[in-house]
Symmetry: none
Subunit: 206 residues, 4 copies
DNA sequence: TATGAATGAGTGTTCATTCAT
DNA sequence: TATGAATGAACACTCATTCAT
């Protein structure tokens, strides 16, 4: 086969994107390394020039996918907002739509037979999203919109709720349930974070 | 080898118990059907007289383990209580201690390399524990201790928090964090469920 | 494929014989486990019911082949003999003809690309043949035919000479060289083992 | 990476020395070409500017190592000596100490998992040392110290004994065995080479 | 000479499951 | 019910070597 050299970064990216597409289409276990390289018309060994193992690409794929979502969230809370509740709402709404809609990650999370991906994804999501919640909660407490004694712990627990929702798409599959879930979520947020001011501005778009 | 017949129930139970011990000790994937039957001095085929597959015993093991915990929870909330908050507290405290202490399940949940068991366990725990929460919340709402519009959804979200804690033992490994986590949990519960009466009686033992 | 059960001993023997034939024909590395089972029309897994690994059959093959040769040697020295020299001559002649003629082992020993087999074979041959030499030398010393102070060490060194010959077929490939080698070998044996009696009876048939 | 040109001989030597160190430390199969070039901070391809293949460096490494030993032996027998026995003794003692002590080659020879190196080393040692033995024996026969009809064959067989000792360090690991082995070796040499003169001067230093 | 990205052939092994007895 | 010999699919990974630059 013709030998085509490329810049390492480019080759690596091609591999990640191809792997992502295949993992997404058929699941991790059902995708072989051979499948990936065949699609790119490169040799089996080329794969191993860029990744230590099949698990290693998976990590890269997950990291990349999640990074994109996290970046959006980060941007969302960086926008000017009337109050802390609005920022938190953006965070929660963002997570729900980003990870439970038609996004790549949503599927990993929900597909059976992908327990491994699932778990790794959750771990990465949690570890990267929790700090964002913590920041918003902490800021809100400073501004008086919220009143939370332990922002880190509160953040962790709220993220827990969201992850649980993403894990269990059955909880929100029918519109009426989704409505009720959304209302309940708002209730929990408002009650748990209530500060001295009247309107915190929590309002989920979902 | 001599053929030893036993009462079907007994043989089945032996298999479940042996499988549980091994799954627990080395993880699911690292335990082979051979390991299980060798320990019991029965033939490979015997295993398949009682279980359709290896996954099938896993289901039995998980079901059995979780049932024991759920039974305790059911008993706990059946005891007379001064108010709904006390019942809920028992439920939450019970779950935390049952599943995060030294119980069998706690380990499945926390061990890496057991993504499959993990996932199945969570599904079973959630499906069996959520109704208990729903019942307590619904009762509490009737009695006026709580004021929750959508008990089913509230139950689901609260269970989500708990599952998240069990998934992430790192969140509660140091005593001070655990204290803060416990306080935050109480805060969320009190605020989210607050009814017309003053004292709901929510007080976690952990 | 039809499932044909056989007595374990029989199956095992079939596998060893087939493996031997193939190792012998194409070398160890060039023979795959698939080759072996295909020839016998059994499944890949069947192989692993009887052997832990490919190396494991190799050990079995070598052990079996060498055992046959050693058995002949043992028989040869057990026959009545006029003196120790005759017994020793049988041993040496036997080894040379058994292992350097057209016997299976001869080929392992001489084939390149079989360094592994080679080495394992030598180790096994040495460990099983040296005691026979030691016995004959010891007996000969007792009877006065030989006069050897350290029979074990003398046995080891003489076996060394023989193994070296087997390793280096080039030393004996032309008849005249072979003649000279044989005479020299006799000289060494006679001189090294010389006892009080005149004729020890050392006379190689080769 | 910066391209660093060096005198060809120098580069080649660096590669040989690095390869030797690694082969010695981890064995031939366990050392990759990557390991070698990484250690020297040169590219994969550079290796192939100097050696046709990995086996090719191995040959160079072995050749170089053995040459050093052979040179010492050659020097030893070139020194003035009272008689042929003394020269032979130097040869035998030299081989034993050179190749069985702490020398590089000794380890190749004794390490398992290095069947390939082992075999190649032996072949090279034998082919280069045997002529030295032959020379000494032939000279000794001319001078009357020895009386050997076929010097080439005698040399080959004596080398066989020595190689066998080097192969089987177990034969000489305990001091008492070593003593006996040394005495037996002397006995064989004296008896096999005995000439018309009384004292041949064979006396091993080991 | 030197680089280093690319090549690609090659296989031992596991173990859940089956089925003839 | 129990046995246990037999099945067989399925695949990640290495690394010596090449070659376009």
């Amino acid at each position: 086969m013709a030998r085509i050299s490329k810049a390492p970064g480019e080759r690596r990216l091609e591999l990640i994107e191809t792997a992502e597409r295949l993992f997404f289409r058929r699941g991790f276990d059902e995708t072989t390394v051979s499948d990936i390289v065949r699609e790119l018309n490169v040799a089996q060994g080329t794969f191993y020039c860029y990744f230590k193992s099949k698990d290693d690409v998976l990590a890269a794929v997950i990291h990349r996918s999640i990074s994109q979502g996290v970046e959006k969230l980060r941007t969302a809370i960086a926008q000017p907002a009337r109050n802390a509740g609005e920022r938190l709402s953006r965070l929660v709404s963002g997570m729900l739509s980003e990870y439970s809609g038609h996004s790549k990650l949503a599927l990993y999370m929900q597909k059976e037979n992908n327990a491994g991906i699932h778990q790794k994804s959750v771990i990465e999501v949690v570890s990267r999203v929790t700090p964002l919640f913590e920041e918003v909660i902490r800021d809100g407490t400073h501004s008086g919109d919220f009143s939370v004694e332990h922002p880190a712990e509160m953040a962790a627990l709220l993220v827990g709720i969201l992850v649980h929702l993403l894990h269990n798409p059955g909880l929100i599959d029918e519109p009426p349930r989704r409505e009720r879930m959304c209302a309940t979520m708002e209730q929990i947020l408002r009650a748990s974070l209530h500060g001295s001011k009247g309107d915190q501005g929590i309002q989920l778009q979902w």
